[in-house]
Symmetry: C2
Subunit: 205 residues, 2 copies
Amino acid sequence: MNYPSKLIAEAVAEFKRLPGIGEKTALRLVLHLLKQDEAKVARFSQAVEEMRNNIQTCRSCHNYSDEELCSVCSNPNRDVAVVCVVENIRDVIAIENTGTFRGLYHVLGGIISPVNGVGPDDLQIDSLVERIAKEGVEEVIMAISPTMEGDTTIYYISKVLQAHKVKLTTIARGISFGGELEYTDELTLARSLASRMPYENYLVK
Amino acid sequence: MNYPSKLIAEAVAEFKRLPGIGEKTALRLVLHLLKQDEAKVARFSQAVEEMRNNIQTCRSCHNYSDEELCSVCSNPNRDVAVVCVVENIRDVIAIENTGTFRGLYHVLGGIISPVNGVGPDDLQIDSLVERIAKEGVEEVIMAISPTMEGDTTIYYISKVLQAHKVKLTTIARGISFGGELEYTDELTLARSLASRMPYENYLVK
């Protein structure tokens, strides 16, 4: 597309680089920003730049953080004996928003995926083993998506952790709350039949 | 949602202010930016801020512009005798991208809309009349969306221009190319029947 202004063309080009933003959406966002006060737009662009320049990764769990230790790791009320292993920060946010988990996290930074060229050495697995050895971790919960690659990652970590005295669990797989049986895929249905649970557990929230 | 980092929370809040961007999308964009080089993110935020700080409106047509006169108005190859009146810059871009219009534009900055509190005085109508008086304009094309408010705006401008010797036209209304007759609304169909044209004109591109 041709734009009457080079400034607009450049801003549109920058927005277009973001995932899921096409040219028309980029233009809509740019024209919206043009209608705002200069101070508001400055706040927008500064928030983005400051975030990128000042963000750190927590030296313990590799979550994004403002400090050397993230807010979860530095919280004295969290249970250090339980570590929940996740793929990325999005999963941390999702679990934190359930408001039910009181342990710590360990962010792998991805999952093992030969297709995408991601091997165990690209992930934070060594630092997980180190934490388990040092910090008195009793249970490691694998909260990894139940895909082929996720299952491979869980299997790999389970092998690595065999040498350590630690309980390894995975989050439950089954039919979602509100999910309909007849539309559930066979694998999920078969697995949730095989790992059926006593009705008393079902009632516990 | 809770975020492990205040920096992330602030950037998400800023993205969320943009139209059509919800919290999940904002987070996706922010996490994407966190994975980019600092230089790339700086380029993004600078493009946005520079655009907002340096943009001008063309003193002739009120289009957004990098200079005092926009690239269309300052182009000596454009036909100054034809002025196309549009609602906003988006329409300028759309018409420019057809590559078929060689005249100039006049951006009203909106359309008359009592519901939204927009009256004729809020639009660039006086400056249009001034241009017509001064610049030897022969034809004014109203390229305004055929809505109630658009039609009101066209009617108002037609009254204002009655005192001036200028040909007033509107863009053709009818069925879109590729549009299906049976799904066209009655008003459009009735209008396009009433303003039917000789077959020779239909063949001209």
